[in-house]
């Protein structure tokens, strides 16, 4: 499977009468987008706003972040199984609006998470302070259940990103990256002397607001399975996860999975990126056992020399992580795990909810309980009404001067467990 990613650099987003990309600027006709969103009768109103890097803007509560992309060549279409029909993606050509993102906000339930600050100290902790963001704020029809509303917002955000991505189809990319993924046998013949490396990606799959969709399938209903890493770049994995803002994977994280990128960077040089495995994080312990058994079985069957395991979310996924790690180590395959820590505000509490001596190679995305004060910001997109309810916030966390004292777990993507950021802890 070979995928060419053509990156069209976007340096700004502006509202205009005509939706188009010109000179690196994404012009957006909000009316057109509104029509697309309101096709879903469950959404009663939608608002659009723009947040640019460096602006004194705070976006909250963030639900998902999506990068606009579109298929140019090859099978299937973007966001298969949810926005477009089910068909295998991951080959041919895809155009990316690099530097742009769709950020969805909305109140699904009465406690809300996810802050993106476009400037100040908070901006250092979220990758989405560096993207030009089209913020989409949805209001539901009355009497919608949380399940219905969650789905409506999720799909509408993807539709907006899909529509914007389409604008780049006929543009010449500023930069093209090529990712090639071979079959097991072929890969071994190509790189007989390189260690065979896999990626085991754990996906949040616990229930309402905690789900991930793969080609439209709710991952908690799936066994551990495999796909090509290039499929992930074409939106095969989509976030339905609205909790634990700091260490959930937004759809943008899936589209730009850094483990996949960095394994491809070494592919054919120091290692052979042979397989990608996706597994779930269910609440029932029998599911945890079964899924981690299955990860280890696949790793063993594929005869991998080493794997990177990435986690998603807080708490019980620590158990899945350690199960995956231990069972895979016991097949004789070396593991490195990526996680984050909840070591308390002082940094002195136990960091993880599970541990094992076989987990001897761990990369941490930092302590999510670290407290920081976000300065007053000129403009809020969304609402601060729920600030004291934001994860890591506490009563009075919204100060009189407009600053907010929070744990960094309230910031979208702050301790992402794909290793998206530079933050670490010792």
């Amino acid at each position: 499977m070979k995928l060419e990613l053509g990156c069209i650099k976007i340096r700004d987003i502006m509202f205009a009468d005509k939706s188009e990309i010109r000179d690196g600027i994404l012009y957006v006709n909000a009316k057109e987008l509104e029509q697309i969103v309101l096709e879903d009768e469950q959404i009663s109103a939608v608002g659009f706003d723009i947040a640019r890097p460096g602006e004194s803007v705070r976006i909250t509560p963030v639900k998902d972040v999506i990068q606009p992309r579109a298929k140019v060549e090859g099978g299937g279409d973007m966001f298969p199984g949810v926005v477009t029909k089910v068909a295998t993606v991951g080959s041919g050509k895809t155009h990316v609006l690099d530097g742009a993102a769709v950020v969805t906000v909305g109140k699904i339930v009465g406690f809300q998470e996810g802050i993106i600050d476009m400037t100040g100290i908070g901006a250092d902790y979220t990758p989405f302070s560096k993207t030009n963001n089209l913020v989409v704020d949805f209001s539901p029809k009355e009497n919608l259940t949380a399940h219905e509303y969650e789905k409506a917002i999720r799909v509408a955000g993807l539709k907006v990103a899909y529509a914007l991505g389409k604008l780049g189809v006929n543009h010449t990319p500023d930069e093209t990256k090529v990712y090639e993924y071979s079959s097991i046998i072929e890969g071994s013949k190509l790189y007989p002397d390189l260690p065979r490396v896999g990626y085991v990606m754990m996906l949040q799959s616990q229930g309402l607001l905690h789900d991930t969709y793969v080609y439209g399938v709710d991952m908690k209903l799936s066994l551990t399975t495999m796909l090509s890493p290039t499929e992930v770049m074409d939106g095969a994995i989509l976030s339905g996860n609205c909790v634990s803002a700091c260490d959930k994977n937004t759809t943008y994280h899936h589209q730009n999975n850094p483990v996949i990128e960095d394994l491809f960077a070494e592919h054919g040089k120091t290692l052979n990126f042979a397989a990608m495995i996706i597994t779930n994080e269910n609440v029932f312990l029998a599911d945890k056992e079964r899924s981690s058994d299955w990860s280890a079985k696949l790793v063993d069957y594929l005869d991998l020399d080493g794997v990177i395991i990435s986690q998603e979310g807080f708490g019980n996924p620590d158990t899945d992580l350690i199960m995956n790690c231990v069972k895979i180590e016991k097949t004789g395959t070396k593991t490195v795990i990526i996680t984050d820590e909840y070591a308390g505000r002082e940094g002195t509490s136990q960091s993880l909810a599970d541990a094992d001596p076989l987990a001897d190679a761990l990369v941490t995305a930092g302590n999510a309980n670290q407290v920081i004060t976000l300065p007053k910001i000129d403009r809020v997109i969304g609402t601060l009404d729920y600030t004291e309810k934001i994860a890591g916030g506490f009563a009075g966390s919204l100060e009189a001067d407009g600053s907010i004292t929070v744990e960094i777990q309230a910031i979208t993507g702050a301790t992402n467990e794909l290793g998206f950021n530079h933050m670490s802890a010792r």
Partner: protein, 115 residues
């Protein structure tokens, strides 16, 4: 019947037929401690006590499903419940707005219902 240990009235009304529901009038840690004692008596954890990625200080409700009583104490359950109690206790108390009680209850139940 398997046991559902909960402080969530919604869990009781929704799952009363499927499980033997034991409703505990306590905070989240109290539910975990009750589960721990049951585990010591030979019940096994069927769901992870840190269900959901909502932090233990953000949602006051907790439902945990335990197996029928067995003769053995299940090591894994003992470890998981101990770690869960340690984890739950390390989060400081924050203000929880009773206005959203319904949401809290619904989220908690959704995590232990198999669809």
């Amino acid at each position: 019947m398997e046991l559902l240990i909960t402080n969530n009235p919604l869990a009781k009304s929704m799952l009363n037929e499927k499980y033997e529901v034991i409703h505990i009038n306590s905070d989240l840690v109290g539910v975990l401690i009750y589960c721990r004692n049951k585990i010591h008596e030979g019940h096994k954890l069927l769901t992870h006590p840190l269900s959901g990625s909502i932090k233990p200080n953000e949602n006051p409700y907790k439902s945990v499903i335990l197996s029928k009583k067995t003769k053995e104490t299940d090591t894994q359950s003992v470890k998981i419940i101990e770690e869960a109690i340690i984890t739950a206790k390390k989060f400081p108390k924050i203000h929880i707005n009773p206005q959203y009680d319904e949401d809290y209850r619904m989220i908690d139940v959704s995590l232990v219902v198999r669809e």
